[in-house]
């Protein structure tokens, strides 16, 4: 039997099995999981308009289109008609999704997917992460200063009012400054303050949630 035919049969079986399982059931989830995996490994995904763009730009557009298509396949699996091969259905959706993606590239003015300079491609690689962002944003710098200032000044005194039970010297303010301004690690801090790590985390996390409105008032524009 033709290899391609057998593979699509497998995909069809998965799609039908997914349709038969109730939505939100573990059976359906498992079928969809396997179906996506098999589609990605099929080697049969189309590449609409591949000639129209430089390689790096095309990769970005295609990635986005593929991402949108796969989620449609999953969330609209009940609409798949098993009279057609699965890959035909997927590629049909991919073709039209690609057009949408091309249009949104212009509509949303994503000009940094220019493709002419490597650094202007959207997103960065692991190597890029080991270097500071190419053009430090002046706004972001002042955000950093604003947070530091807020922590140190504590305009309404809320940060220094909260402390670990029986340890009044360990205020939220002190911990926040140690982590953010002094760039200590949590482990270092727990050792130097002589307090257990879980206690420290529990104290900080719980109070950070409560203090968020206070933070937002002073540091968000």
């Amino acid at each position: 039997m033709n290899q391609a035919h057998t593979e699509d049969e497998t995909l069809q079986q998965l799609a039908i099995q997914a349709q038969k399982s109730p939505p939100q059931s573990p059976e359906r989830h498992q079928c969809l999981q396997q179906l996506v995996s098999d589609i990605l490994h099929s080697g049969k995904l189309g590449h609409p308009a591949i000639g129209n763009y430089p390689r790096e730009v095309y990769e970005e557009l295609y990635n986005e289109a593929l991402q949108r298509t796969l989620i449609k396949v999953c969330t609209k699996i009940d609409q798949y008609n098993c009279a057609h091969p699965v890959m035909a259905w997927v590629n049909h959706s991919l073709k039209y999704t690609f057009i949408d993606v091309e249009q949104s590239r212009y509509r949303h003015g994503m000009t940094y997917i220019a493709g002419s300079m490597k650094n202007q491609i959207l997103g960065c690689s692991l190597d890029d992460l080991d270097h500071p962002p190419p053009t430090p944003n002046r706004d972001d710098q002042s955000d950093a200063d604003r947070l530091r200032q807020f922590l140190v000044e504590d305009p309404e005194g809320c940060l220094r009012k909260v402390y670990v039970r029986n340890r009044p010297e360990i205020t939220f303010q002190r911990v926040a400054i140690a982590i953010y301004v002094e760039d200590q690690s949590w482990t270092q801090l727990s050792e130097s303050l002589d307090i257990s790590l879980p206690t420290l985390h529990s104290f900080f996390n719980r109070n950070l949630q409560k203090l968020k409105p206070y933070f937002k008032k002073y540091i968000l524009p």
Partner: protein, 330 residues
């Protein structure tokens, strides 16, 4: 089913994910925190995408890692599944053999997922999960994603049971009295409902509803008496948005047990919304039956069941975050 490889899930990362990741990266003052912010954001988006493919509805907006404050202090990558809890989405670098879980996220999580990136950071693969944290987990010790849907499903079952109030003290509908003509609050005949709620006119043309009576699957030869009652139930966040009609038909059999049929119809539309769940629970919260709507359904129904005087059960209707429970006694 095909067995290409152990179950993992590969996700192409969207523009939005990369834009958000850049945004969070730019806010950090140290290189290390900036790198973590970038990877954590991508990991959360990858898991969010994966869960949405499966049909879950995670709420990205309630992640602490995107609140513009938490990442300055904590190495977190949290994603909320409403009504269940938070999952932690940990980045794993290419070539790594171990999943690291920082101490700040050892509490308040229902589970931890490992998300491995390619060098280009354009793709992420969800490798597996563990329910309980360790500082370092060898990747080979991760549980397969094949069992993840079931894991979440089991969690959901236990969570639902915990949220049920004890039967005693909640409003209970006394079904035995229906056959004596007693009216329970909120319940009425289909005709009455249609008279008082003309906007539910769609119900008149639904299959199975004739002359205000449910066309019953119950064996009519066997019955001494029967009755049908309906109740409008609101399952939307906004009033009137997702109103459904719950219909209960009772038939008293010769052996004095009460045969029961339960259906849900959409009150204002032709079809039920998809993924509406109807469950029948025992008094103690065990799920005895459940059905789901798919999106083109005119109604859904449970298999008929019966009970004796004094027996109790509960019906639960759920849609997204809204869950309504009705308690009954025969």
């Amino acid at each position: 089913m095909s067995i290409h490889s152990p179950i993992t899930f590969t996700v192409p990362l969207s523009w939005e994910a990369q834009v958000q990741a850049q945004h969070h990266r730019a806010q950090q003052v140290t290189l290390e925190k900036a790198k973590k912010a970038y990877l954590n954001t991508l990991a959360v988006y990858a898991v969010d995408y994966y869960l949405r493919c499966l049909g879950f509805k995670p709420d990205l907006s309630r992640s602490d890692c995107t609140d513009q404050i938490s990442l300055h202090f904590l190495d977190i990558a949290d994603l909320l599944l409403p009504n269940l809890g938070k999952l932690e989405c940990r980045p794993v670098l290419p070539g790594a053999e171990v999943l690291e879980i920082p101490s700040e996220v050892h509490e308040d999580r229902i589970g931890y997922l490992a998300v491995q990136f390619t060098q280009s950071l354009k793709q992420a693969t969800i490798l597996g999960f563990i329910p309980d944290p360790l500082h370092q987990v060898p990747l080979s010790h991760l549980k397969s994603l094949a069992t993840f849907p079931e894991f979440l499903h089991d969690l959901r079952q236990t969570t639902v049971v915990e949220q049920l109030e004890p039967f005693q003290g909640s409003a209970v509908v006394e079904l035995g009295q229906w056959l004596e003509g007693v009216v329970s609050t909120g319940w009425q005949t289909l005709d009455t409902l249609l008279n008082y709620h003309p906007q539910c006119v769609m119900l008149r043309s639904q299959p199975g509803l004739e002359d205000g009576q449910l066309v019953t699957l119950l064996d009519t030869a066997d019955q001494a008496a029967h009755t049908s009652k309906v109740k409008l139930v609101d399952l939307g966040l906004q009033l009137g948005e997702q109103t459904v009609m719950l219909m209960l038909t009772l038939a008293l059999k010769e052996d004095r047990t009460l045969s029961t049929q339960v259906r849900i119809y959409p009150a204002r539309h032709e079809h039920l919304p998809p993924q509406l769940q109807l469950r029948m629970l025992s008094e103690t919260g065990d799920v005895l039956q459940e059905v789901w709507s798919r999106g083109q359904d005119n109604y859904i129904q449970l298999k008929p069941f019966s009970g004796e005087r004094g027996d109790r059960f509960r019906l639960q209707m759920a849609l997204d975050e809204i869950c309504v429970t009705e308690n009954f006694v025969y």
